[in-house]
């Protein structure tokens, strides 16, 4: 992944900062507005997916935030993810204000903070959210990047407006603006200004290119602020369909669509998704909210070609979108109610979650998700297949979790089991394992069976654990490996 988020790692920055002499008389802020750009010091605890019973790694980082309203400080989600303590400092003041997260949206990397006592901030200017800047127009980035402790300002021009990946969750794509100002770790969450208004939030950079900084544009920011108006964040909604462009003339003729460069072919519909039961593979999708969809899946908004999903991007759970499509020989115009796609979390990095696990006779079982995948790097074909098909093939309708045997902690009860880790658990004593909770239930019956027979997908043989020896083994393993809790079934 070439994109990187821009929160500075505390371990790197703080000792450096501590060595620097702080001027006795800090210069007054060059601009009144700078007072409302705050430095966020975050102390985090990152869960340990490799040894999920451990406390995790303690660390910290620095980011930037800015005041957008009465006790409302906007920043990036990644600046405050997994935070255990948040402190805010203001330009030119040593005072640290404890803060907390009011709303956090990992799918668009935004968070809204509040401070315990806003009274010192009352007379601070409040940033106004502006529009989307023109290409080549100049912008200012303000923040607390590495290289010093005090406020930093850089300037650049808007290089590109595009649809791109948000690296914080890895799984989400939204509108981004690329600028050529130097923005660095610590800039994250800082405002990007034009004509005194915020036109974006600095959030990520690239390792493989110079002079590229990425900012979250205001349509995404406004969507976040609107979504949380009702007191909770509902996530993005999704059409949950896959499409294939209709460039090919032979394909167009075979599908009997006119030669007008319009329409895409529906190739997949996610079960339980917004379009489930409405669209079908083979349908031709030609319009969304009155906008004609071209054969590349693009629509024209405000004079620019954008992905048809841009319409959906700006909507909320429960909103409808008007689709025009052909199913068989019949044309339909139909309003589709939009829903989030919670199963998509399989592919997104999770934050603020306690890893779930079971330790049973030294066998460690964990549900598959991207956090675990990133830690364990599975190459088992079954694991990869289930991971890939989980959403598109609707596996989630039957498999709540894909439970993987991730480790075996050595103990006499399991000392002759090797070559089995990294495989998916299929059954326990003949019963299908459909979730971690179900696995726990099957592994802890009221009276233990003579043998627990655990079958893994693609394993050469079943794993056999003598039922009457489990309790003693668990006790031993708990003590030897310092595993305080043998299971955690709640995130």
């Amino acid at each position: 992944m070439l994109l990187r988020t821009l929160a500075a790692i505390g371990a790197l920055v703080l000792p450096l900062a501590a060595q620097q002499a702080i001027p006795e008389n800090p210069a007054s802020a060059p601009s009144e507005v700078y007072r409302s750009v705050v430095r966020i010091e975050s102390a985090v605890q990152v869960p340990d997916y490799a040894m999920p019973w451990n406390s995790g790694r303690f660390g910290g980082g620095i980011g930037t935030g800015f005041v957008i309203g009465e006790n409302q400080i906007l920043t990036n989600a990644h600046v405050v993810s997994n935070a255990r303590r948040l402190l805010i400092t203001v330009h030119g003041s040593p005072k640290k204000y404890p803060a907390r997260v009011e709303h956090i949206a990992h799918d668009c990397d935004l968070a809204l903070l509040s401070v315990e006592d806003f009274s010192d901030f009352e007379d601070f200017p409040v940033f106004e959210i502006g529009g989307v800047p023109q290409l080549e127009s100049q912008v200012r980035v303000i923040g607390y990047p590495i290289g010093g402790q005090r406020l930093s300002v850089t300037r650049g021009v808007v290089s590109r407006v595009d649809f791109s990946t948000y690296s914080h969750s890895r799984a989400d794509q939204h509108l981004v603006i690329q600028i050529d100002a130097a923005i660095n770790p610590g800039n994250s969450g800082g405002p990007v200004l034009q004509d005194g208004k915020v036109i974006g939030v600095a959030f990520q950079g690239r390792r493989d290119a110079d002079n590229t900084g990425y900012i979250i544009p205001t349509p995404v920011v406004r969507r976040f602020l609107t979504d949380i108006e009702d007191g909770r964040y509902d996530h993005y909604v999704d059409l949950a369909v896959s499409t294939f462009p209709l460039f090919n003339d032979a394909m167009r003729r075979a599908l009997r669509v006119p030669d007008d460069n319009l329409g895409v072919l529906v190739t997949g519909v996610v079960p339980e998704g917004s379009c489930h039961g409405i669209l079908q593979p083979g349908d031709i999708l030609t319009g969304i909210d009155g906008n004609p969809i071209d054969s590349a899946g693009q629509i024209l908004i405000d004079g620019a070609k954008v992905d048809l999903n841009e319409i959906v991007e700006r909507k909320f759970a429960g909103d409808t979108v008007e689709l025009r499509y052909r199913s068989g020989d019949t044309w339909h115009d139909r309003a589709v109610e939009l829903k989030p796609l919670p199963q998509n979390r399989m592919y997104a990095i999770q934050y603020e979650k306690q890893p779930r696990y079971i330790v049973f006779a030294g066998l460690v079982f964990q549900p598959l998700d991207t956090n675990l995948f990133a830690t364990a790097k599975f190459d088992d074909l079954h694991v990869r297949r289930l991971y890939e098909d989980y959403l598109s093939e609707g596996l989630f309708t039957e498999l709540e979790d894909i439970v993987v045997l991730t480790r075996i902690e050595s103990d006499p009860i399991n000392s002759q089991l090797s070559g089995f880790t990294g495989k998916v658990i299929d059954t326990v004593n003949g019963e299908k394992v459909t979730s971690l909770a179900r696995a726990h239930e099957l592994l802890h019956p009221e009276t233990p069976p003579e043998f627990f027979v655990i079958r893994l997908l693609g394993a050469s043989r079943p794993l056999i654990i003598p039922g009457t020896e489990v309790a003693a083994a668990n006790e031993r393993i708990q003590r030897t490996y310092a595993i305080d809790q043998l299971s955690n079934l709640e995130e």
Partner: protein, 507 residues
């Protein structure tokens, strides 16, 4: 190690279990280094083998990769035959024999080859060539065993033979060329010279041919030498002009050393036994009635221990696969004693060879040109292991999931396919506009015809639908790709003009 269809071969049982500790060899005997080695005689029974080899380009199957040359040695085994490794003759375009003194040269051809056992028998292209006139064929040795001292023959650049002595340190089944193809092998400890070739070398015992060195590891100075019984069986088999090859049982096994597992299997401590983790239906074991979950206790009354070893009268503790693959020929019977549900059964297996060519995804394709079809710029190929390997060093994790799945779980596909045909790529042409991102999709149907192999694909494209549009369907994909027949034909003729030698191969 990953499960693979190769696992189904009897000899692959190692993949299903931890490799057991190597049997401790008796102390190496002291060797009298002063002893005269039969160098002169060796020179008369050894020839140089040169091969030019050229394989097909897996990505552009209409053309070949650049040729490569290799030199090594062969052992004269009759008045017209030389034995060497199969590795020397894979995809050979030209083979040449040369006497060690460099005075005589003759073009050779392959008489019999076993890629799995890594042995090849060469003979002269021109049977009347007097090449063998002054050469002395080697007798095949009585099989040496652990502790016996062998002579490895090398030839220096000046033509002088160089003989290195070394003891057989251990005997084990080893896969030395193709992965998963395990055969009885001598591990010979000898420090060999780097100046001469150190691969495909004759190995002698008391002046008789004991095996062919297939691999030398200079770090620990250990050589793999094909064991005499394998060599003898190969030569005997090839002698009648039709080579049958080594049989397989068709099972994958795993050890039963886990006491909990044994208790569950109700395996008493008076038994050894190997757990049968899978059986190929169409294999010798499958036809004999062996089932997944059986415990293999003995073959031909030779008891198999819990790690899979039996006591061989001559070689000591040897992995069980040698009882089938090495000790027996095709069409011989093997009596399998298995434990099933607490009962002991005797099953008789008629042994047969599991031919790589019969497998859904061939494990190797030496000597055969890859089948393919180009239609309007769409490139279709048959899935083979070499093709999967072309995805790079980490192909087992990097190759496309759908294709790996066929390779690792062929039983899920065998009913529908004889060979798996897939759209491997798209050449950008006017007929493939918009199709450029498509690749690695398994083809199930063209123009309504089910696709079982490349031949049926070519036939299906031959029947043009009334609207002139070919319809191509893929496994697990809900969409159809269409090709305009007149445009595709026009594009194909342009591709021929652009230098493609041909548009299809079905052999």
């Amino acid at each position: 190690m990953k499960a693979s269809p190769l696992l189904l071969l009897a000899s692959l049982a190692f993949t299903a279990c931890e490799r057991p500790p190597t049997v401790e060899s008796p102390p190496a005997p002291t060797i009298d280094v002063q002893e005269t080695v039969p160098a002169f005689e060796a020179a008369l029974s050894t020839v140089r083998v040169s091969s030019t080899r050229q394989d097909w380009n897996p990505r552009q199957p209409w053309e070949k990769n650049p040729p490569r040359k290799r030199r090594s040695l062969g052992a004269v085994v009759s008045d017209r035959h030389v034995v060497t490794t199969a590795e020397m003759v894979t995809d050979a375009t030209y083979l040449e024999l040369e006497t060690t003194d460099g005075l005589k040269l003759a073009q050779a051809k392959v008489d019999a080859v076993d890629y799995e056992a890594n042995l090849a028998l060469l003979t002269l292209e021109d049977p009347d060539d007097p090449f063998f006139e002054n050469l002395v064929p080697l007798e095949i040795a009585e099989a040496p065993t652990t502790g016996d001292v062998l002579d490895v023959v090398q030839v220096e650049n000046n033509g002088l033979p160089l003989v290195t002595r070394g003891p057989v340190q251990s005997i084990d089944v080893v896969a030395n060329f193709l992965p998963g193809q395990y055969f009885l092998t001598y591990e010979v400890k000898a420090s060999m010279q780097n100046s001469a070739s150190s691969f495909s070398l004759p190995v002698l015992h008391d002046g008789e041919l004991a095996g062919i060195l297939t691999n030398y590891n200079s770090d620990d100075q250990i050589s793999d030498v094909t064991a005499t019984p394998i060599l003898r069986r190969f030569l005997d088999d090839a002698a009648d002009g039709t080579y049958e090859g080594f049989p397989s049982l068709g099972v994958a096994t795993t050890s039963t050393d886990d006491s909990n597992f044994r208790a569950w299997l109700k395996l008493g401590d008076d038994h050894g036994g190997l757990y049968i983790s899978s059986v190929r239906d169409d294999s010798a074991a499958g036809k004999a009635g062996v089932r997944k979950g059986d415990v293999l206790l003995a073959i031909d009354d030779r008891e198999i221990d819990r790690l899979g070893y039996y006591d061989d009268a001559r070689f000591g503790r040897v992995f069980w696969s040698h009882l089938v693959r090495g000790s027996k020929g095709v069409n011989e019977a093997a009596v399998l004693r298995v434990l099933r549900d607490g009962e002991i059964l005797e099953l008789t297996a008629e042994l047969e060879r599991l031919d790589a060519e019969d497998r859904l995804v061939p494990a190797y394709t030496y000597g055969t040109a890859p089948n393919f079809l180009i239609k309007g710029g769409l490139l279709f190929q048959e899935l083979t292991r070499p093709l999967l390997r072309s995805f790079g060093k980490d192909w087992q994790s990097r190759a496309p999931l759908d294709l790996l799945d066929v390779y690792e779980n062929p039983e899920d596909y065998e009913e529908r396919f004889d060979r798996v045909v897939f759209l491997s790529g798209v050449i950008a042409t006017p007929a493939t506009v918009g199709y450029e991102p498509l690749r690695n999709l398994i083809v199930t149907e063209v123009n309504g015809q089910p696709i079982r192999d490349m031949k049926s694909l070519v036939a299906a494209f031959g029947e043009v639908p009334g609207d002139g549009l070919h319809a191509i369907k893929f496994d697990d994909e809900d969409f159809t790709v269409y090709l305009d027949e007149p445009l595709a034909t026009a594009v194909d003729s342009q591709l021929l003009q652009r230098g493609l030698t041909r548009l299809s191969r079905t052999e």
